[in-house]
Amino acid sequence: MASATTTWSMSSLKSSLASIPSSCSIRCSFRPPNSTRFRPNKTKPAFGSFLGLAPLNPLPTLTSGNNSYEHNFTIIDNGGRVSAMRHGRRVPKLNRPPDQRKALLRGLTTQLLKHGRIKTTRARASAVRKYVDKMITLAKEGSLHKRRQALGFIYEKQIVHALFAEVPERYGERNGGYTRIIRTLPRRGDNAPMAYIELV
């Protein structure tokens, strides 16, 4: 730890500081970065995209000690769940019995493949990723058996045939991760957190 900071000195740091903005409120579709990631061997703070995972204002938490640690944890309204951990939960249940859940996911993947970008709740968007990736993987393989498997999952025939026709050139080089989720404003009626999910 000490080895990285010996290259800096207080005077050089203080002289290079022009003016420090006290807070920056960015109106964007992200939640403020507040995840806690323990990096035991990191000596220099990471630049660029990794900064999104660091707390936005590290100074108040450094100086104020234990009382402000709660700001660093994920504060999401979890619909009644008490803990914020996910130990051992493999399948997102989506508050539905299994047959309805399967039908919901089939419908969502069909609509996503048809329209390219849909707006649903965050839980459904993150649950449907797996099935969309599966469908695109089936289309990449392209054999008759895979086509019939896709026809058994997606509700509309045209979409399956269009998918099998265009996926090789569109996703030929990409290995996985064929969707993107963008979080957005909550829904007005019930304040459900919403997200756009789109094909890459």
């Binding site: 900071t5 420090i20 903005p21 990096r39 660091a54 590290p58 265009e166």
Partner: protein, 204 residues
């Protein structure tokens, strides 16, 4: 958390302060680039323009109360008339060009007609709004048919006045090539919103 690491060591207070100051520097340097983060996530940077640093304020408002924020959705009946666009800039001698395009035509799953041009206003003096500029391509109300479309407002700084001419057609517009042929370079501000076709079920 790297805060916990610092408190575990018996470091002199100067070391502690220098680390925190360095974190401050890094956040300060990255603030301007982080304002473009929603544009990168929404793939406006990447599909419409290249990476740029926003330097000029841009406020787009429909109907006096609906401000366009990155990634938020607006109803198509609200966006039929042209919005009120306020721009920043240092003084009134600089001229800016505002372009509004739709990169998801005809639908975001297969945008083979990318992009469609909706509006161009040129020679906008700095710190004023779009009504002071010259509208060379008149405002066309967005009509998304398939899927959810993004509508992107881009602000470019002009080198000279009267340097931007209207393109030949609105279809198959390419923002990069347009800015290159008129010498506009990278944009100085951008904002985008989403819109989808309103059907009878969405009566909100």
């Amino acid at each position: 958390m790297h805060q916990i690491q610092l408190t575990h060591f018996h470091t002199p207070s100067e070391l502690h302060q220098s680390l925190s100051l360095s974190l401050y520097i890094i956040t300060f340097i990255n603030i301007m680039s982080r304002m473009a983060e929603p544009l990168a996530v929404g793939r406006v940077i990447g599909e419409v323009v290249d990476t740029f640093t926003p330097s000029v304020k841009l406020n787009v408002t429909y109907n006096l109360n609906k401000t366009v924020s990155n990634g938020h959705e607006l109803m198509p009946n609200l966006i039929t008339t042209k919005p009120h666009v306020d721009i920043g800039g240092e003084d009134m001698r600089s001229a800016y060009t505002l372009i509004m395009t739709d990169p998801d035509v005809p639908g975001p799953s297969d945008p083979y007609l990318r992009e469609h041009l909706h509006w161009i206003v040129t020679d906008i003096p700095g710190t004023t709004d779009a009504s002071f500029g010259r509208e060379i391509v008149s405002y066309e109300a967005p009509k998304p048919v398939i899927g959810i479309h993004r509508y992107v407002f881009l602000l470019f700084k002009q080198k000279t006045r009267k340097s931007v001419t209207p393109p030949t057609s609105r279809d198959r517009f390419n923002t990069r090539s347009f800015s290159q042929e008129h010498g506009l370079g990278l944009p100085v501000a951008a904002v985008y919103f989403n819109a989808q076709r309103e059907n009878a079920a969405r009566r909100r």
